[in-house]
Symmetry: C2
Subunit: 324 residues, 2 copies
Amino acid sequence: MSSIEMIEAAATRLAEHARRPAILTSPFLDEIAGRGVLIKPECLQHTGSFKFRGAWSALTGIEPSARARGVLAYSSGNHAQGIAMAAQRLNTNAVIVMPSDAPKLKIENTRALGAEVVLYERGSQAREEIGNRLSRERGLTLIRPFDEPLVIAGQGTCGLEIGNQAPQLGVGLGDVLVPCGGGGLTAGIALALERHAPGMRVRPVEPEGYDDVARSLASGQRETNTSEAGGLCDAILTPSPGEVTFPILQRLCGPGITVTEEEVLHAMAIAFLRLKLVVEPGGAVALAAALFHPQEFEGNAVVVVLSGGNADPEVFRTALEKYA
Amino acid sequence: MSSIEMIEAAATRLAEHARRPAILTSPFLDEIAGRGVLIKPECLQHTGSFKFRGAWSALTGIEPSARARGVLAYSSGNHAQGIAMAAQRLNTNAVIVMPSDAPKLKIENTRALGAEVVLYERGSQAREEIGNRLSRERGLTLIRPFDEPLVIAGQGTCGLEIGNQAPQLGVGLGDVLVPCGGGGLTAGIALALERHAPGMRVRPVEPEGYDDVARSLASGQRETNTSEAGGLCDAILTPSPGEVTFPILQRLCGPGITVTEEEVLHAMAIAFLRLKLVVEPGGAVALAAALFHPQEFEGNAVVVVLSGGNADPEVFRTALEKYA
């Protein structure tokens, strides 16, 4: 069971190890959005995404004997890098199962951080099966990317910081827009805000065509995307909300918001121009929602999580060419 | 006269208004440089460069009656944006004299921040004459971009933060690499470190062909660049070190370091990949020195100031195409 107590315990374990990115603002963003926009730039977290939080939380939360045997993760990339760096800093081994079509940079970075990478074909092989088999064979502890309470607790520390930082900037009410794949970050932030900033409500944001969470929230049951490959926003393309995360999303989140891939590229260009930040497509969906879907929420201000910055250089160049 | 007391006073005036960017690190940078690299990312400062510090210091340091009449600045762009935003937040007027070949983005941003922009031809007109005339005609107070003690004091607050943050990360000895144009930031940081972190020494960094400061430090007198237009690193292309700044640089800085434009583009790509930061060419020279000139300094760690992030999108795309 995920709980606020687990998030607070994770925050203690992360205190000297994770970054706590300060909130950024820009009058240019406020003008486009028509309201105050508070940016939580998790692209500045270690390994370039919020995933380091959950990874550190999980690796420091499991039994020391299990940690010493090593961990295993399956991931489209950002979870992989988070686990790899956490394992390296904790002097243990990480085996990462990654789709063969993951951005080359993410695969290389994961290896450079000391992890062993096992590639699989997305679509034709179930990564869970591969992960379970490796886990059995080598005595590794599987760290799921989102359906794992220790991971959700780590991601929730981002919510604790938002609940502390946003009111200092005069924002204690309003929507918090979170890029949403399996829902680990979204659920963690929602749990943290429920206790620490109850006037703030999480809104999951997804790309068009991969809106399983928005549809699940609308229907009241876990819906599935027909495809999980091929989209621009690779970091958040999961088949459906998690078993552990969905009940939390259902209880605490407002309706999901869906943005187009062109809006995502445009948001990446605006983050380049106005924030001097590199944001990857999946990390930019919430900014796209704030800038281009202002009618979907109320209030004078909105908080936007930029969840990752591991952008493919070609994709980034396309965003600049089209919109900068 | 510039002094540590002026810097500390400026820090008090800036306390609630400027950002204090946290130092960033990356194992990938350390590996390239062969030592620890501590990044002070002033591209995340308001308006995308350290110049907001000096601007705020100057506008809050002059007489209230002068501030109410308005201020004037001549600038290649970043000083302009800093002055414009400071003036807007202090509810006064700013007139900015800018070269007509400044990046379009910088001209537009300056106007969008509420300032009046007056363009001049670089090379054919002396910006100081235009500035002095406008100043006389309209009763505006000229805020020089670097040869102004209040501005140097503001930039020096960046040095106070480095002197506080770097030792917390275990670095109290070593070189601090600073992108250097007229020398305002370099002099300010040097003065701050002299008092607060005397084991750290500032090294000015410039692009090849525009190394007036390095040559001036070597010869012991203010040397002049033959050209001040046409280089990649527009933000730091000044004809010579300042009258006020040079004696400070001479007393406190180690030898200057010169980098090539290709090294600058490469450093920009590495900042994209490893730090998720947008850095402009002039802001990336110190990172280029740390990564590609490791033999020019000693010790286990180096501090690098990324002084600005207002990169032209075409130039940024070129950097990614070549080196990302």
